[in-house]
């Protein structure tokens, strides 16, 4: 009976994932190797050539999506780290309250938040309209539908995914270590870079993964804030178009698997760089 226990525990969840994830994905994988149309049916022709095809056609979009995701990760880190640090070290009794306040906006559906941002950032809206009226901005300035605006939207939406892990890591750093460093004549800056920051790295790693991975496949920000401008669309938009409008399931599936493989590869490289134990988060 003991022998069976692990398998019994794994059974319900494992079976669920097998039936509703692995098998459909496996089917999509074979569909990527098929050819045909949605009306006449798809035939498995082992068309491995589709993979170099889609990579050759869309490598720029893969790079762009990775670039946006990377920019998002860096920005959320730059914004989130001081936030987490301030709350953890200077929050005092209000620590929890502050953290909750930071996370509170994200209880509202992300679609609503993104749509409202689009309204705020419109050419003559609350923000830019006022600035143009005051003469600070050129009347032809616009922000929406630019790469910067898409990265802005991504950064906003993924900020809590970076702040929370950072906060946890920073908060539990033993202050006495920092005290010890300053006792040994380290300046505040040295104490930070040599003691605090290295101890917070697990949080940085967790936050980076939680931000980068979903950001790469995002398409909502490019659609709503980016107005689906050709210069800013991401690989997720193409996969969606190919699947839903063009009904080109083989190409859509191939693109998706290239994306998954690419992400796993990047995660593996990142894991090597920072030490694999830290990845189990």
């Amino acid at each position: 009976m003991r022998r069976l226990t692990p398998y019994l525990l794994l059974l319900p969840g494992g079976a669920w994932l097998l039936v509703f994830f692995a098998i459909p994905m496996g089917f999509m994988l074979t569909q990527s190797l098929a050819q045909g149309t949605v009306d006449t049916g798809f035939n498995l022709t082992w068309n491995f050539g589709i993979y170099p095809d889609v990579i050759g056609q869309y490598w720029e979009l893969f790079v762009r999506s990775a670039g946006y995701a990377l920019a998002t990760t860096v920005l959320t880190l730059l914004i989130g780290y001081p936030m987490a640090y301030t709350i953890a070290f200077h929050g005092g009794r209000l620590k929890n309250a502050l953290l909750l306040i930071v996370v509170l906006p994200f209880f509202v559906s992300f679609v609503i938040r993104t749509l409202n941002w689009r309204m705020i950032l419109s050419d003559n809206g609350i923000l830019f309209g006022t600035l143009k009226h005051l003469g600070i901005l050129d009347p032809t300035f616009h922000f929406l539908a630019t790469p910067a605006s898409v990265i802005f939207g991504l950064t906003y939406n993924f900020l809590p995914f970076m702040i929370l892990p950072l906060y946890v890591a920073i908060e539990k750093i033993d202050r006495r270590l920092i005290e010890a460093a300053t006792d040994l004549f380290a300046s505040r800056r040295q104490a930070f870079w040599r003691v605090t920051f290295p101890l917070s790295v697990p949080g940085v790693v967790a936050g980076s993964l939680l931000t980068f991975i979903p950001a790469v496949g995002d398409f909502i920000n490019a659609q709503i804030i980016g107005a689906a401008n050709p210069q800013v669309i991401m690989i997720g938009n193409i996969i969606q178009f190919k699947y839903l409008i063009r009904n080109d399931y083989p190409a859509a599936a191939a693109l998706a698997f290239v994306l998954v493989a690419g992400v796993l590869l990047l995660v593996a490289i990142y894991g090597r760089a920072v030490g694999t134990e830290r990845l189990t988060s």
Binding site: T5, P6, L9, L10, P12, G13, G14, W16, L17, L18, F20, F21, P24, M25, F27, M28, I79, P82, M83, T86, I87, H90, A97, L100, I101, V102, L104, P105, F107, V108, S109, F110, V111, I112, R113, T114, L115, N116, W117, M119, I120, I126, Y156, I213, V216, G217, I235, G236, I239, Q240, Y243, A252, A253, A256, F257, L259, V260, V267, T280, S281
Partner: protein
């Protein structure tokens, strides 16, 4: 330079970021009181409370919300149970097939939602299943299991086995040990995983859109009606959710402070602190 300026810098920065975080929320709340003439809700056209009152008699608005909540609660319960079981198995037992199992759990988190949704849609079509409430539920349970496992697993790895061994030394069998010692210790972790699953489920758009058929969940409904501008009803619901979350957190915080930092019984607490 000195401490004076840097004292101000960090809190100042934090305050600025908080403003940034709340900007769309503030706009949402403000425009929930707008009384627009046409389909647009971008210019102020008169203050009104009407939107809040007219909401309750609009099943086309409240139905999606109820659907979302129901699915979130149900999928959270199921995914948490399944996920906890998997996490327990992975962290405490030896068995074959650990590698593939890990892959099975991690890959759903890396695949783009478009394909997770699309692959399930293909499954339903080939089975001839009508899409609706149950297909959405099944999909949500599917992607939530991974998050629950990942959230719980590291926590379980740090579990101090000696407590359980003590229980067994005192003649408790495996089941009793689990119920009375293990479960209470890991319960905070389970709760955290459940919260995450709930949040993910209630806000999901992409996977749901593939599995929903004609059923509307809250994010789907918002996306649909906001095509020609954000109707005030959307802002009203967003504001209400925000206020409820705020109230919930405030109550918890207040109750906590009233109870004080009672040092509850020593070892049977959060592990590792």
């Amino acid at each position: 330079m000195g401490r004076g300026l840097s004292r101000l810098l960090l809190p100042g920065f934090t305050a600025l970021v908080v403003v940034f975080l709340f900007a769309p929320i503030a706009v949402m709340i403000a425009f929930s009181f707008n009384n627009p003439l046409g389909r647009q809700n971008i210019t102020w056209q008169g203050f009104t409370f009407d939107n809040y009152f007219s909401l309750w008699s609009r099943p086309d608005i409240t139905d999606p919300m109820v659907t979302s909540l129901t699915i979130a609660v149900l999928s959270t319960i199921v995914a948490t149970i399944f996920g906890t079981m998997i996490a327990l198995a992975l962290s405490r037992y030896e068995f074959r097939g650990r590698g593939p199992m890990n892959l099975l759990i991690f890959v759903p988190m890396t695949a783009p939602e478009v394909i997770l949704g699309a692959s399930m849609l293909t499954l339903w079509i080939s089975l001839g299943t009508a899409r609706g409430f149950f297909t959405i539920l099944i999909a949500h349970i599917m992607f939530n299991i991974s998050f629950v496992v990942v959230t719980l697993r590291a926590r379980l790895a740090g579990l101090n086995k000696s407590l359980e061994e003590a229980g067994m030394d005192l003649y408790a069998n495996e089941r009793t040990t689990f119920r009375k010692i293990t479960l209470p210790i890991i319960f905070p972790g389970i709760l955290a995983a459940a919260l995450l699953a709930f949040a993910l489920s209630i806000d999901d758009y992409v996977i749901t859109s593939f599995n929903a058929g004609h059923t509307l969940t809250f994010p789907l409904w918002v996306f649909g009606v906001s095509r020609l501008g954000i109707p005030p009803e959307v802002n009203v619901l967003g504001t209400l959710v925000f206020l409820i979350a705020f109230a919930f957190i405030a109550i918890q915080y207040w109750a906590q402070r009233r109870a004080g930092r009672t040092a509850e019984a020593g070892p049977v607490t959060m592990v590792g602190r």
